[in-house]
């Protein structure tokens, strides 16, 4: 059992050589390739993660800008809508006033025209009556009735017409 602690220098040197050779060969033919591929992939993943984070940041910034723009557009639209409503109301009031004025003017014009036509008709009727009366008077004169009597008769007839 005491041999357990007795070092075998040959085995020791052989183990050292074996192990160091194994480290060298594995480093050269296995670990370098595996570690290189692993680090490359890790770099790619890190780069992708960074890219994704940047993209997300950009998207959030864009979203914020769009939201601000949308809010601005909404405010402007509300403002323009209010202005349009106000303008529409003013135009409506103006149009209403113009229409009312035009209607009034047309009414006045029509009234005046009617009055003039009425007066003209009355004058024509009067003249006709006068002419008729004159014709009648001429007949009467011919039948020896004075002109004065004829006028009185005409005035009496006119007064009766006006009463009607």
């Amino acid at each position: 059992m005491e041999d357990l602690l007795k070092p075998d220098y040959g085995v020791m040197i052989l183990t050292i050589c074996n192990f160091l050779l194994l480290v060298y060969l594995l480093k050269r033919f296995a670990w370098n390739g595996l570690i290189g591929a692993l680090e490359k992939r890790e770099e790619k993943v890190a780069s992708d993660v960074k890219q994704a984070a940047d993209d997300r940041q950009t998207a959030e910034k864009l979203k914020q800008e769009l939201e601000e723009r949308l809010s601005q557009i909404s405010t402007e639209a509300s403002k323009k809508m209010a202005e349009a409503v106000k303008l529409g109301q003013a135009q409506r009031a103006e149009l209403l006033a113009q229409t009312q004025e035009q209607a009034k003017r047309l009414l006045d014009q029509t009234k005046a025209q009617l009055e003039a036509e009425k007066n003209q008709a009355l004058a024509e009727v009067r003249n006709e009556i006068v002419r008729t009366a004159v014709l009648a008077a001429e007949k009467v004169v011919r039948e020896q009735i004075s002109t004065q009597a004829a006028n009185e008769a005409v005035d009496r007839v006119l007064a009766e017409i006006e009463k009607k």
Partner: protein, 253 residues
């Protein structure tokens, strides 16, 4: 053959008695085991590093990369910092090498070479070399030697502290060898003792031997599971301590 002889026969290294030109060749059971394990590791890992095309190859490559990530993120970088990246192949090999040799003892007709003090001493010498190389690489000879004196030490205490620190480092490396050797040896001794219980009790009376069979086998299975755990644990501890010692030399007080 008494119990001590049986245990010695199963645990001790056996020289194959080969010589070349009068020089004894160190071809022993343990050295052959180490050689076989090394060849298997080399062939296996070279195959894995080049077998990306097939699905099974990708699976093996993924496993190897997970292993590298484990060694790098759990053992090397936390203890050695970014400077440890250059030593990653060494630590990857060290852990796998010790683990494979530890587990080789579980295979019939193979021996646990780490139950040989010469083998563990060789591994400890390699780790000592890595520790020394780390210190010299990052601090130079003067800086490395200065690292043995903690900052703030009074000048009159330096002649005392300096040799103590050097001895302490050497002892740490020696302890690496002794810890691995003792743990692997004791595990195998316990396994053998449990098996021998059956034969010792059976020699007293055949019925007693039969009665001892079941409890001995249960204990044997339990100890084998424990041995598997110890195989992983000791490989981890040896690699971790090497990384810690190398890190302490790189990042001095």
């Amino acid at each position: 053959m008494d119990v001590a002889e049986i245990i010695s026969h199963h645990i001790l290294d056996h020289d194959w008695g080969l010589s070349l030109g009068g020089w004894r060749l160190p071809i022993t059971t343990h050295s052959v085991t180490i050689f076989v394990v090394s060849v298997l590791l080399l062939v296996g890992l070279v195959y894995i590093s080049r077998a990306r095309a097939s699905r099974s190859g990708r699976l093996l490559t993924t496993l190897a990369e997970s292993y590298i990530t484990f060694v790098r993120d759990s053992l090397v970088l936390p203890n050695m910092g970014a400077e440890g990246r250059g030593f990653l192949p060494y630590f990857c090999t060290l852990f796998l090498f010790i683990l494979s040799i530890n587990l080789a003892g579980m295979i019939p007709e193979m021996k646990t070479a780490t139950s040989n003090i010469s083998v563990t001493a060789a591994l400890a010498i390699c780790s000592g070399g890595v520790i020394l190389y780390s210190g010299l690489k990052y601090h130079g000879i003067i800086g490395f030697l200065k690292g043995f004196v903690p900052s703030g030490t009074p000048v009159w205490l330096v002649p005392l502290i300096f040799p103590l620190e050097i001895i302490s480092t050497i002892i740490k490396v020696c302890v690496l060898a002794i810890r691995l050797f003792a743990n692997m040896l004791s595990g195998h001794m316990v396994l053998l003792c449990l098996l021998l219980i059956i034969f010792i009790v059976g020699k007293m009376h055949i019925a007693a031997g039969a009665g001892a069979l079941l409890p001995a086998m249960v204990l044997e299975i339990f100890m084998t599971c424990l041995e598997l755990l110890v195989a992983f644990l000791q490989a981890y501890v040896f690699t971790l301590l090497t990384a810690i010692f190398a890190g302490s030399v790189i990042h001095t007080h």
